[in-house]
Amino acid sequence: MIDLALDSLSWVLLCLGGIFVLIGGVGALRLPGFYTRLHAASLTDSMATILIFTGIMLQAGFTLATLKLLAIMVFLLLTGPTASYALANAALQSGLKPDADQLGENTAGDAS
C-alpha cells in the first residue's frame, strides 16, 4: 500500500516536473526581451529540478544513487540562480536596459 502511494506520488512529481520544464522552455522562447526570458528560464528551472529529482529519489529508494541525486539537486539549486545573477549582471552593466521598449524585439531581431 505504502509502495503504491510512493510510486504514484513520484510519478505525479515527475510529470509536474516535466510540465515545469516545458513551461520554462516555452517562456524562454516566446517572452519578449532578455530579462523576461531569463526570469522564465531560471524560476522554472529551480522548480523543475526540485520536482524531478524528488520524483526520481522516491523511485530509487534508499541507495547510493539517492545520495548522488541529492548532491546533484543541491548543486543545481546553487549554481542555477548564480548563473542567472551573473548573466543579468553582465547584461545590465553592458547597458542592456530592462525597458518596455524591448517588447517588439522578439519578432524583429532574429536576423542571424
Binding site: 515527475l14 516545458l22 532578455f34 524531478i52 548563473a83 553582465a90 542592456l96
Partner: protein
C-alpha cells in the same frame, strides 16, 4: 513514465536551441547555453534510470558542478572586454 519526462526535456532542449540560434543579443545565447546545460543534467539523470544503471549518475554530477565555470568565464570575458562589441550583434 521516465520516457514522458525525458521527452519533455528533449522538447525543451529544442526550444532552448532555437533561442540560442535566434539571439537577438549575445546574452540570450548565453542564457540558452545555460538552460541547455541544466536540461542536459536532468536528461542524463533520467536516462541513467531509464537504462537501469543508476551508478552512472557521476556524469550528471560532473555537469552540475562544472556548468557554472563556463558561465563565469563568459561573465569575466564581458567584464574584461569593455570595448562593447559584444553587446549587440547586428547581423
Amino acid at each position: 513514465m521516465y520516457l514522458v519526462v525525458s521527452l519533455a526535456i528533449l522538447v525543451t532542449m529544442v526550444l532552448a536551441l532555437v533561442r540560442a540560434l535566434r539571439g537577438p543579443t549575445v546574452y540570450d545565447r548565453v542564457l540558452a547555453v545555460n538552460m541547455f546545460g541544466t536540461k542536459t543534467v536532468l536528461l542524463l539523470s533520467v536516462i541513467a534510470f531509464l537504462l537501469g544503471r543508476p551508478d552512472f549518475l557521476d556524469l550528471a554530477l560532473a555537469y552540475a558542478l562544472i556548468n557554472l565555470v563556463g558561465i563565469l568565464a563568459v561573465l569575466e570575458f564581458f567584464q574584461n572586454n569593455t570595448r562593447g562589441t559584444a553587446e549587440h550583434e547586428h547581423d
